[in-house]
């Protein structure tokens, strides 16, 4: 092996494996040039390490200081209630999705509003006409109401008749059952008398 096959810098920088270290040490014991190179590299590193670390002019801020304060979303994420928030968010998303994807409601066509022009130039009020219209409207409402009351009374009478008929039928059934029972009792009494 010649000198170039040994990585002397890796040896000095403690990057060689145990086998390589032994090989370098054995070679340096027999090679003055490599021994001197190792010594110079070691001196270089020793000089570099002789320079002490600088003390800090001041300590840097800690986490408890304002500058390290977590953002609101980080606090929320780190809080134990995050599962609750996540569930609420999922539920809201589901409701929103349902609302957006459900069938559209039936369109209701509204009568067009009165022309704006008539509002812009109002005619003088016709009080008699208005009273007449109100009276007609009240008459229509009264007639409609009377008709509804009459229909309701007819429905009530019909229901009453049907109920009465149903009760009559029930009483007839009960009477028939009583007769059957009475006949049965008489037959049983006759049987007992004959046996005695």
């Amino acid at each position: 092996m010649n000198c170039s096959s040994f990585d002397l810098k890796a040896y000095v920088l403690n990057e060689s494996g145990p086998g390589d270290r032994r090989a370098v040490e054995q070679h340096a014991a027999a090679c003055a040039a490599c021994a001197e190179e190792i010594e110079r590299l070691s001196l270089t590193c020793a000089a570099l390490r002789a320079v002490p670390q600088e003390e800090m002019p001041r300590r840097i801020a800690f986490v408890s200081d304002k500058v390290f304060e977590p953002r609101w979303y980080q606090r929320l994420w780190d809080s134990p209630a995050r599962l609750g928030f996540a569930s609420a968010a999922l539920l809201s998303a589901a409701i929103l999705t349902h609302a957006l994807t459900r069938p559209a409601p039936v369109a209701v066509t509204l009568a067009p509003p009165p022309a704006v022009a008539s509002v812009a130039a109002p005619a003088p009020l016709d009080l008699d006409g208005i009273r007449k219209l109100i009276a007609e409207s009240e008459a229509r409402q009264a007639k409609l109401l009377a008709g509804q009351i009459a229909a309701s009374e007819q429905r009530a009478e019909r229901n009453l008749r049907e109920t009465k008929a149903a009760i009559d039928i029930s009483f007839e059934g009960i009477g028939r059952q009583i007769n059957v029972l009475r006949h049965g009792m008489q037959t049983a009494s006759a049987g007992l008398g004959g046996a005695q």
Binding site: K9, T44, R49, M56, P57, I60, F62, V63, F68, D78
Partner: protein, 183 residues
């Protein structure tokens, strides 16, 4: 290896569950090293301090993205690397704008003693990429693979930068033969 009663991964796990004291402990554990790493890159105490603050703020805000909690340190140094080079890429205003003399830029010589002056002068001859590789390896003690992860480049690139830097530093800090005693 430094023995720690509580490992970084445990503190990261606690911090993720909202225990601010756990993150405070991580800050206490790493702030000085991150600050010195940044100081050696940007050569300005005020910038290094501001960047250190930003680094730990970003790390806290993105703690959930750290895949392997046991690799908190390389991850924080990766953030620090990005912050430092983003600052270095910006055009710098005049240094006279620094009002507080406590934060006045020390220039290339950051440390007061003679050895420190020699080291600072030697480091100043390196490119920012070479200097960063030296800082991460020699001062912070990361492995080649970790440095590659921090810098976002292949291990071969890390070794190339580091080995070239060592050759340059060696000429100043460990000259051959009779000049060696000067240090």
């Amino acid at each position: 290896m430094i023995f720690r009663e509580v490992e970084d991964r445990d503190l990261v796990a606690q911090a993720r569950r909202g225990h601010v004291d756990a993150y405070n402990q991580l800050v206490s554990r790493w702030e000085k090293r991150v600050f010195n790493y940044l100081l050696r890159l940007v050569a300005n105490r005020e910038d290094a301090l501001d960047l250190t603050q930003d680094v730990f703020l970003k790390a806290y805000q993105n703690l959930a993205r750290l895949e392997d909690a046991s690799r908190f340190a390389p991850w924080v140094f990766r953030i620090a690397h990005n912050e430092a080079f983003s600052l270095l890429r910006k055009p710098r205003p005049g240094e006279e704008e620094l009002a507080d003399p406590a934060f006045a830029s020390p220039g290339p010589r950051l440390f007061p003693v003679e050895t420190s002056l020699a080291v600072a002068a030697a480091l100043d001859k390196l490119s920012p990429e070479q200097r960063e590789a030296v800082v991460l390896k020699v001062y912070e003690g990361f492995k080649f693979e970790e440095i590659a992860g921090i810098l976002g480049c292949p291990v071969s690139t890390v070794k190339s930068r580091l080995y070239t830097a060592l050759d340059l530093l060696k000429q100043t800090l460990a000259p051959s033969s009779g000049l060696r005693g000067a240090l």
